[in-house]
Subunit: 550 residues, 2 copies
C-alpha cells in the first residue's frame, strides 16, 4: 500500500514537472505561436519552431531554410525517381540547357519562351538545345489527343493532292467552305447553307491549284487547317475563349470531309503514329467521335467498320515498327447533342466494348466545357454502363470557379480513371486529395490550354501546383495538328521549362514518360512489354546524350 | 474455465466473421480502390466509397456530390461567418448583382469584366451594380499600399496648380523630366543627365500651362502620373514584367519631387485618407521609404520629421473624421541598394520603433522582386532586430517557380506577420500549411498583379486557391494612384467577382473586411475600437442596402 502511494505521488510529480516545463516553453511564445504548436504536423515542427521562437538564430534559420527547400523538392513530382550514374550525367547536361534559358529569362523575361505565346516562338524553340534534347527523349505515350487533330498541317495539305478531291467555294466571298472526294462534281453541297441548290461552286482542287499556282494555293488552304496566323498578334487574335473555340471547332469541320474519306482515314491514323514515333512517342491513347466515313462507291462505314480500320492500320504500323508499343481508342462523342443522340452513345460504347475489348480503352464526352451540359446530366446513363468500361472524362478545362469546373467533382465521383485537362483542379483542394488517393492521373495539355485561351504565360499554368503537390500528371498535346507543334515535344518543353520548378530535373521528365505508360489503359502484360520497349530506348537516349551523340 | 473458453471461441468467431465480411467487401474493389481505403481521411471516405465501389448507385452519387459541393463551400474562406437575418437579405441582393454579371460572362466571356484588363473596363465597371454596392460597403482597412501612390491622378494634377512649381523639359524631345518647387528658377537640374549645366529648360509650370491651355497641359502631365494609356492595348503595351516595372518605378520618380515638397507631403497623406474614407475604407497601414523632404527655405527634414508630419496629419484627419479608425506606417526602404545603405535601414527602424511605438507598425523591404536581392541576403540584419519589431515582407510577387519565389520561405522563417502579395504561394503547399498554422495573412493585390503583368485574367489569379484553402487573405490595392482605380473598391470587386468562387457571397466580403482589421497592427484596445467603428458603418450599410437606400 505504501509502495502504491509512493508510486502515485511520483506519477503526480512527473505530471507537474512536465506541465511546468511545458508552460515555461510556452510562456516564451506569443498567443499566435502557441496555436502553431497545437496544429502543425511533424514535418512542420522544425520550421514552425523557427517562426514561433521570438526570433530564430541565424543558424537555425539557415538550417530550417535548407530543410524546407529540401522538403519541397523531395515531396514534389518525380522525387521518387532514383537516377543511375549515367542518368546523373545526362541530368547535368539537361539542367545546364535549362539553366541557360533561365538566365536569358531573368535578364529579359520577354525572351523566356514559356512567357510567350507559342505562335510567337515556334521558330525560336527549334534552336533551343533543351528542346532538341527533349525531341530525342523517349517520352512514352500520348494519353490525350483527338482523332482528327493528330497530324501536322503539312501532311493535311499533302492529302489535298489526292485525285478526286473537290472544293466548294462561296460565291459571296470566295472562301473555301468545304472539301469532298468524288468521282464526279458533287451534286449536293457540303454545307448547310440555304443556297443549297447552287452547285456551280464545286471545283476540282487540282484545277484551282493549277490556276493559282501550287505554292500560293497550298499556303492559302494551310490556313484552314491551323489556328496559327503569322500576321496576327496571337494575344489579341481572339477576344475570348468562345471565339477561339468557334474557330477551333471550325477546323475540325474543315478537315473532316478530307479525313473521313475511308482510304485517307486509315492513312491519316498511320501517319499520326509515324509522326509520333519520330517525335519519341511510342504509344497513343486517343479520343474519337467515330464520324461516318465515305468512299467513291457510296459505301457506308459504321462504327465497327471504323474500329476495324483503326486496328488494321495499327497492326500494319506495329508490324513495320516493332519497337512501337501500340494504341488504344477512347470513344468520346460530343456533349452538345439532344438527349436522344446522347442515349445512342451508351449503346455504341457497350457494343464496342464487347467487340473490341483490347482496342477500346473506354469512354469520354467532348466539346467546349463552358458551353456544354455538365457530366451530371449524363450521370444516369454513365452509371448504368458495365463496371469494366473505364472513363476518361474531360473536366475542369475552364477558367470559371464554382460552375462548370464542378465537372471535376463529377469526374471523380463517377469513377473516372484519368481526368482530361483538370485545369481548374487547383481551386478544388478536396478534389485534389481524392485524385491523389484514388490515383487518378491528370492529363495536362499545356499548349492547348494557352492557345484555347485558358492561360497566357506558362508559368501561371496551375499544373505547377499539381507538380508541387505530387499529383499524378501526364503531359499530352490534345490537338497538335491545329497549333503547328510536334506531337509531344513542345508540350514536354513547356511543361518542364515553364510549368515545373526550376529545380525540376531529369527525374520529372522521366516520371512524365513513366506515368504515360503507368496510367495508360494497357493491361498488366501489355505494360510490362511497354516498359521493356521504352526502357531500351531510354537507355540509348541517356547513352547518346552522355556521349554527345544526340 | 469453461466460460472463459467459450468467450475466447466467441471472440475468434467474431474476428473471423469480421475478416470474411471485410474480404468480401474488398473483393469487390479493384487494386486501385483498395489503396484508397487505406489512405483517405474521414472526410474523404464517403466520396472515396462512391469512387471505389464498382459503380456508385445514382442515389449515392447524388448524395456524395451534394456532400462534396457542400464541403467545399463550408471549408473555404468566409464560411465561419454567420449572417444575421438582415445580412441574409442583403446577401440576396448582392448575389443577384453578381449572378447578373456571370450570366453575361457565360454568354460572352469578353464582356465579363474580370476576364479583361482593368484599363479596358474602367468605364464599364462604373455602371456595375455590384461595384456600386461594394463602393458603399465599409471595407475595413488597406493593409498594403505605398506612400506616394495613394491618391488619384486627378489630385496629383491638382497639386501642380500650386505656386512656385517648375518643370524641367528636355531640349531634345521636349519631354518633362522632372518637377521642383522653388522660389526662383532652379539652379540645379532635377536629373542626373550629363548636360547638367544647361538650366535654361526649367520653366514655371504656370507659364507652360498658360501657354498650352490648361486642359491640354493637364491631359499631358496626367499621363506622367499613371500607367493607364487609353490609346494603347494594355495587353501589348509592355512586352514584359521588367519593362512595365521600369515605367512603374519611373512614375514614383516623376511624382516624387512634387510630393516631397513638405507642405504637399502632409496634404497628400491627408487627402489619401480622405479618398479612402470616401471609398468605405477606415484604416490605412502603408509602406513608405521616408524620402528626403524639402521646402522653399532649404530646410532639411529627417526621418523623424517625416514621421511627425504623418502623425500630425493623421491626428488632424481623425479629429475631423472621428469615425475613421486610424493609420500606421511600415518602414519599407528599397532592396536594391549597396550593403552600406542597407545597413542604415536597420538603424532607422530601431530608432523609429523606440520613438514612434504606436505609429510604426514594423519593417519591410520593397522593389521589383525578380531583380532584387532575396530576403535571405538581409537575414543576418533582420534577425538581430528587437523581437517586438514586426515584419511585413513582400514575398512571392513573381511568376518564377523555384527561384525568387523562395522569398516566401524566408518570409515565413524570418517570422513575417503578413506577406505582401504571396502571388507564388500556391506553388509552395508546405509554405501554405505554415502560413495557415502561423496565422500569417496574405495581402492580395489583384489589380496590381494584373497591371504589373503577373496575371492576365483575374480568374487565373492564384488567390482562388488561397480562398479555396481558407488561407487568411486580405485584399488591398498596392498603388491605386497609378492604375486609376478607387482606393479599394476595384480590388474588392475583382477579388469577389473574378477570383472568388461563384458561390462566394457576402460572407466572403465581410471576412475580407474583418480580416483587414484582425490582421492589422492595431493593438487589442485599438482593435476593439476599430471593430466598433466598423460595425456601426456595416450595420448601416446592410440596412441601407436592404431598404434600397444605397
Amino acid at each position: 500500500m505504501a509502495t502504491r502511494s509512493v508510486f502515485i505521488i511520483w506519477l503526480i510529480c512527473i505530471g507537474v514537472t512536465f506541465h511546468v516545463a511545458q508552460s515555461a516553453v510556452r510562456h516564451r511564445m506569443t498567443e499566435r505561436c502557441r496555436r502553431v504548436w497545437n496544429e502543425v504536423d511533424e514535418n512542420n515542427i522544425v520550421a514552425a519552431q523557427a517562426v514561433c521562437n521570438s526570433r530564430a538564430t541565424l543558424h537555425d534559420y539557415f538550417r530550417d531554410r535548407k530543410d524546407l527547400l529540401n522538403y519541397e523538392v523531395e515531396s514534389s513530382f518525380g522525387a521518387d525517381i532514383r537516377l543511375t550514374d549515367n542518368e546523373e550525367l545526362a541530368n547535368k547536361i539537361i539542367m545546364q540547357a535549362k539553366e541557360d534559358e533561365y538566365r536569358v529569362g531573368f535578364l529579359r523575361p520577354y525572351l523566356f519562351n514559356p512567357a510567350r505565346h507559342i505562335f510567337e516562338v515556334l521558330d525560336v524553340i527549334k534552336q533551343s538545345k533543351l528542346f532538341q534534347i527533349i525531341q530525342k527523349m523517349p517520352k512514352g505515350g500520348i494519353l490525350h489527343a483527338h482523332d482528327t487533330a493528330l497530324c501536322s498541317a503539312n501532311y493535311v495539305v499533302s492529302l489535298t493532292y489526292r485525285p478526286d478531291l473537290w472544293q466548294r467555294t462561296s460565291s459571296q466571298n470566295n472562301e473555301i467552305e468545304g472539301f469532298l472526294f468524288s468521282r464526279e462534281q458533287p451534286k449536293m453541297p457540303n454545307t448547310n447553307q440555304s443556297d443549297s441548290d447552287d452547285d456551280s461552286q464545286w471545283r476540282l482542287v487540282k484545277d484551282v491549284r493549277d490556276e493559282m499556282g501550287a505554292e500560293k494555293y497550298d499556303e492559302h488552304i494551310r490556313k484552314l487547317f491551323t489556328l496559327f496566323d503569322k500576321n496576327v498578334n496571337p494575344r489579341i487574335q481572339f477576344p475570348d475563349i468562345n471565339q477561339v473555340w468557334e474557330r477551333f471547332m471550325g477546323l475540325f469541320m474543315k478537315v473532316e470531309s478530307i479525313l473521313t474519306y475511308a482510304p485517307v482515314w486509315k492513312e491519316y491514323y498511320k501517319h499520326a503514329l509515324k509522326e509520333m514515333q519520330e517525335d519519341g512517342v511510342s504509344y497513343l491513347e486517343f479520343r474519337g467521335t467515330l464520324p461516318k466515313l465515305y468512299d467513291l462507291d457510296g459505301n457506308d462505314y459504321n462504327d465497327e467498320d471504323i474500329m476495324e480500320i483503326y486496328i488494321e492500320a495499327l497492326d500494319e504500323f506495329k508490324h513495320e515498327n516493332p519497337s512501337f508499343i501500340g494504341s488504344k481508342f477512347i470513344y468520346a462523342p460530343l456533349k452538345q447533342v439532344s438527349n436522344e443522340t446522347a442515349a445512342t452513345y451508351f449503346d455504341v460504347v457497350r457494343r464496342l466494348h464487347v467487340k473490341f475489348p483490347q482496342f477500346l480503352a473506354g469512354f469520354d464526352l467532348v466539346g467546349q466545357e463552358d458551353t456544354a451540359p455538365g457530366l451530371v446530366s449524363f450521370a444516369e446513363h454513365i452509371l448504368q454502363l458495365p463496371d469494366d468500361i473505364k472513363f476518361f472524362f474531360h473536366a475542369g478545362e475552364t477558367n470559371w470557379f464554382g460552375s462548370v469546373d464542378e465537372n471535376l467533382i463529377d469526374a471523380v465521383l463517377l469513377g473516372s480513371h484519368r481526368i482530361g485537362h483538370g485545369y481548374a483542379l487547383a481551386k478544388h483542394p478536396k478534389v485534389i486529395d481524392l485524385v491523389k488517393s484514388n490515383d487518378i492521373a491528370v492529363e495536362v495539355n499545356p499548349i492547348s490550354n494557352q492557345v484555347l485561351k485558358l492561360v497566357d504565360d506558362y508559368r501561371n499554368h496551375p499544373a505547377s501546383v499539381f507538380l508541387a503537390q505530387n499529383v499524378p500528371v501526364v503531359i499530352s498535346s490534345d490537338d497538335p495538328s491545329f497549333w503547328e507543334v510536334s506531337p509531344l515535344s513542345h508540350d514536354f518543353y513547356m511543361a518542364f521549362l515553364g510549368i515545373a520548378s526550376r529545380h525540376s530535373d531529369l527525374r520529372t521528365l522521366k516520371k512524365f514518360a513513366i506515368n504515360s505508360i503507368q496510367y495508360s489503359s494497357l493491361d498488366d502484360t501489355e505494360k510490362t512489354d511497354a516498359f521493356t520497349k521504352w526502357q531500351i530506348k531510354w537507355d540509348k537516349f541517356i547513352e547518346d546524350l552522355v556521349h554527345n551523340e544526340l
